[in-house]
């Protein structure tokens, strides 16, 4: 008897939840689940830290940081099912699979749970919005800006990319070329390809310094290339003469920053990303905002997210890492 009563009680509660999420009482905290690709990854631990920061700022928010043990879609679905069962208010997921999570996330939305994706997205029908860490134009602009900021008098820069067919790198270089006119006296003398292999990137970087003795900077929009280029500059004894910049990981670039081979580089900041994801999830879960194309949804200290026709948006410029902050981030990712 008692068992059935509880069953029916829960069913009624579920029905109420389906009927409308607005019933969230003032006293109950808004529970936001931050679902990551796998637990134990520094990048995501940092994102969780950011989400906690947003929770503290918003007040009355409980962040549930969770994810599978290994990066599988099946594991993430089990996690999502248990979150649906707990009737959380929002799920913010960095997906292991664009498509496989869709049925589970659809079910979550049917039961009144706000679903957004961040970092690694899910197909449009499986989420309300997707938060990209940055956008191609912002990245293209940032990589040339980092080089130009160190060259107030202008100078020669060269690009060390991944492969000739790397989609991301090609788009970023294209975007960089578009805004080249904004930076006075900066000349791009050449583009070489290190195929995202450490040794080939090293040789290509060395070759650049030999071909262009006046070279002032190497831009490597790839985490493999930037490390190899920095080592090539160190080995050629050109630290202080050739500045290496681009996109890299703080853990791998700490040495180059310390030696001076690289003055600064950029990549997304996982703390900001987790912060924004939690902030956006809160806005949608409390019906303070709606994820429609063209909408501008506030995300606290990160400004506002403008959604495009696919209800996707870019958080911000890539975050700049230099001698002042590298130590804080090199242990994170």
């Amino acid at each position: 008897m008692k068992f059935t009563r509880r069953l029916f009680g829960s069913a009624a509660m579920a029905a109420a939840l389906i009927a409308g999420n607005a019933a969230t009482a003032q006293d109950d905290p808004v529970r936001i689940a931050l679902v990551v690709k796998a637990l134990g990854i520094g990048f995501f631990e940092a994102a969780a830290k950011g989400a906690e920061e947003a929770a503290a700022e918003l007040g009355n928010v409980e962040v549930i940081y969770t994810g599978p043990t290994d990066t599988t879609a099946e594991g993430q679905i089990e996690v999502i099912n248990s979150l649906i069962a707990q009737q959380v208010d929002a799920i913010a997921v960095s997906a292991n699979d664009t498509d496989a999570l869709v049925p589970a996330l659809k079910k979550a939305m049917q039961r009144g749970i706000t679903v957004i994706s961040w970092d690694s997205g899910v197909a449009t029908e499986g989420r309300e919005l997707h938060l990209n860490p940055s956008s191609n134009p912002l990245i293209g602009n940032m990589i040339i800006k980092l080089a130009a900021d160190e060259l107030p008098e202008g100078g020669q820069v060269a690009v060390l990319s991944a492969t000739t067919t790397s989609t991301n790198q090609n788009i970023w270089i294209e975007e960089m070329t578009k805004v080249l006119g904004d930076y006075n006296g900066i000349e791009v003398v050449g583009t070489v390809y290190g195929d995202d292999l450490a040794d080939k990137s090293y040789r290509e970087a060395t070759g650049l310094m030999q071909t262009y003795p006046e070279l002032d900077a190497i831009i490597a929009p790839t985490s493999v290339g930037i490390v190899a280029a920095a080592r090539a500059v160190e080995d050629a004894g050109k630290v202080g003469q050739v500045n290496v910049t681009g996109l890299g990981l703080p853990s791998e670039m700490a040495g180059a920053i310390e030696s001076g081979a690289s003055k600064s580089f950029a990549i997304w900041n996982p703390i900001d990303l987790g912060y924004s994801a939690a902030y956006l999830a809160y806005q949608l879960a409390t019906d303070a905002a709606e994820a429609t194309p063209g909408a501008e949804i506030p995300m606290g200290r990160m400004g506002a997210l403008t959604l495009d026709e696919n209800t996707e948006g870019a958080m911000a410029d890539p975050f700049v890492y230099d001698a002042s902050n590298i130590d804080a981030f090199k242990d994170i990712f």
Partner: protein, 328 residues
């Protein structure tokens, strides 16, 4: 049962009731009930029909393979390629769906591919006399490798809408199609193992294959059938999982072979062959499903769950042995 005769030769070593009381299945059932109660006390969300229904998806697909695997292990063989078969079956169905195949054809292709994989394993083991653990470690890489070659980092996602029923459909109220299928498979395998000559011969082979051969059991044929069944059940699981995910990637179901074997061993099937029961595997499936779901509700990290399952497996294997050592 009688003490009248001078030389007492019991026809049973223990009364059926005593045997039941000491049986593995009862111990496991007790564990399942304890976990159920603990879960209900630990989380307010556990005792909810929809949530319990969702929880069954954590084990139904794996359990369907576990039934066939139980027979195979009882017969003294093993198939570690089951998860890779899922990947290959799912890839085959994905390719067919992309070419415009309808749901009935997809199911046929799924079952057919599963059977073909099982037959391949079975032939290598029974015709060439190779050890099944080596053969299936090989085919584990082979089947998934083919799937990776076909798909690379791509995915098939053009399944017809009706195909979603197998993994996402409900027969009525909260009873999912998968759960019903799980029940039917449990029943079918119960009858096959415990109520037919075929089942008797599986036990006979597991206890002593040579003796079984001399008693007129066609050992090779029975083993081949068991590999076919395991392939078929992997095909069934692949249909359910693919339908539930709505898409195929070559990494689908990775690591499932060990979870399936864990389920079988937890169910009291001797890893050395010769003994075990389907009810045990059914209860073990529930135990594993309840544990992962219950811990999930408490947001216990996955790695702690793995540790928990590992400890549970070791203790359920060690406890009876310790018990015997203590008594003997």
């Amino acid at each position: 049962m009688s003490d009248m005769t001078a030389r007492h030769l019991p026809d049973r070593l223990q009364s059926p009731a005593a045997r039941l009381l000491q049986s593995w299945e009862l111990l496991l059932l007790g564990l399942a009930i304890a976990i159920f109660i603990a879960n209900s006390l630990a989380s307010p969300y556990f005792l909810n029909a929809w949530n319990l229904s969702d929880a069954t998806f954590n084990f139904t697909e794996k359990a369907m393979i576990a039934f066939a695997m139980a027979l195979l292990i009882i017969a003294g063989e093993i198939d570690l390629s089951v998860a890779a078969i899922i990947a290959l079956v799912s890839t085959a169905m994905g390719a067919a769906a992309a070419a415009g195949a309808g749901t009935p054809l997809l199911v046929l292709i799924g079952l057919g591919t599963g059977l073909a994989c099982g037959a391949f394993n079975g032939l290598l083991v029974t015709r060439l006399g190779l050890p099944s653990i080596v053969v299936t470690i090989g085919t584990m890489s082979l089947f998934r490798g083919v799937s990776f070659i076909i798909l690379g980092d791509g995915a098939y996602r053009s399944y017809p809408p009706e195909f979603a029923y197998f993994g996402q459909g409900y027969v009525g109220w909260v009873i999912s199609f998968e759960f019903v299928l799980f029940g039917l498979c449990a029943l079918a395998y119960y009858v096959l193992l415990h109520r037919t000559n075929f089942g008797r011969s599986v036990f006979a082979i597991g206890n002593n294959a040579t003796a079984a051969q001399f008693s007129g059991i066609r050992v090779g044929r029975v083993k081949f059938m068991l590999f076919l069944l395991t392939g078929l059940m992997s095909g069934v699981a692949a249909i359910c999982l693919t339908s539930r995910l709505g898409s195929t990637r070559p990494s689908i179901a990775s690591g499932w072979e060990l979870e399936v074997v864990t389920m079988v061993v937890l169910g009291g099937v001797s890893i050395l062959g010769g003994s075990g029961s389907i009810p045990g595997v059914v209860i073990a499936a529930f135990v594993m499903g309840l544990v992962t779901f219950g811990l999930g509700l408490l947001n216990v990290p996955g790695i702690v769950m793995s540790i928990f399952i590992g400890l549970m497996l070791i203790s359920v294997i060690a406890v009876p042995r310790l018990w015997r050592m203590w008594r003997g």
